[in-house]
Symmetry: C2
Subunit: 188 residues, 2 copies
DNA sequence: GTATTCGTTCAATCCGAACTGAACGTTCCG
DNA sequence: CGGAACGTTCAGTTCGGATTGAACGAATAC
């Protein structure tokens, strides 16, 4: 096997790293279905601007009949344990997955929240909703900034009225979105 | 000024490129309000996984009392004309901005769609809706793949039933989302 | 005709987020 | 006590998408 000696620049310690595409010995090969869902979930995840790993981990767990450990996740997805750790913690924060403990085993076992509605709810409540309320504050701030701009003489009256009108429109839509989304969620 | 000679690797032609941070001579400095909205729109854009430039261009145009040309957009946002071009074309595809032509001027003038609801509608219809229907197809395909997995003996009956159940749940939620979103849009 | 002035396209570069290996803190076991 | 087995953290690297300069085609101007 082709190997490369690497020196950790921080500590000076050495390690060997394989240059070949290592084929991790998978405990039990994943079915085609699971592999495809993992890929699809990964794409979906990065479609909405999240790291691909997050989606992959959830996809893996969602089709997993039993809870998996961090090491199993890392092995099955062929990612580092570090990635698996950060990914699972993010998913835990979103309430998309849960930790379960098995008696007599120190490992954390992870399983997907089975109710997809809850997952969506978590993503909305903990990810989108905060951004929405922040946006509201920012628009209000912009209206003040605009008044400042006029007083400072940076803009003329026509531009002032124009911008004010548009900012108010933004504020209006923002308010409606904030009202409609929770209602829509009820109908899922 | 610090200059660097660069040779285009494709054609062998040479050019000088400034290494200093060039401070473009802005035709008319933007007001603080517009600058802040541009920044916020840029962040919002990359929050949902789109390039920052897209949001910035829309933000600029939305608070612009008059339509702007490609060159003005590039100059005001301090981005290349190439970026401005690709960005505006994406926004045009989403119906978020429009082209207007002024008699006796060869340039394209660009202005934001004033009705934000229309912008949202465009983003949904032309960006999200296609992904949603594709997802439906993909879930159906996964159900077939799952049958294949069982026949191939890759999975046992228990795993088959488990995965089938979860895939059906996905299908169910997907259907509901596809129904609810257009209705929610009506209420904006 | 040739020379500009547009917008677009494309290979190459750049940049930042995602990922990684190694170190670390903790807990459990002998 | 070690030391092994965990999960987490962090500096450093990788990598893919955003961005760019240059080339290009089309339309106009001279």
């Amino acid at each position: 096997m082709l190997l490369e000696e690497r020196v950790c620049e921080l500590t000076g310690t050495k390690c060997l790293r394989s240059l070949e595409k290592v084929h991790h010995p998978v405990s039990k090969p994943l079915s085609k279905t699971r592999l495809e869902l993992i890929e699809a979930a990964g794409r979906l995840s990065q479609l909405v601007g999240r790291p691909r790993t997050i989606g992959q981990i959830f996809g893996l767990l969602y089709l997993s009949p039993r809870a998996l450990t961090l090491d199993e996740i890392a092995e099955l997805l062929e990612i580092s344990k570090a990635s698996a750790s950060t990914g699972t913690r993010q998913l835990l924060a979103l309430h998309a997955i849960r930790q379960v403990w098995k008696p007599g085993d120190r490992k954390d076992f992870l399983e997907a929240e089975p109710e997809l509605r809850e997952v969506l709810r978590g993503v909305y409540q903990l990810f989108f909703a905060p951004k929405l309320t922040k946006t509201r504050g920012r628009i209000d701030l912009l209206l003040e900034t605009l008044d400042g701009d006029r007083k400072a003489g940076t803009i003329d009256d026509e531009e002032y009225r124009f911008c004010r009108d548009r900012l108010l429109q933004m504020s209006h839509l923002q308010g409606k979105v904030e009202k409609v989304l929770p209602i829509a969620e009820k109908f899922l």
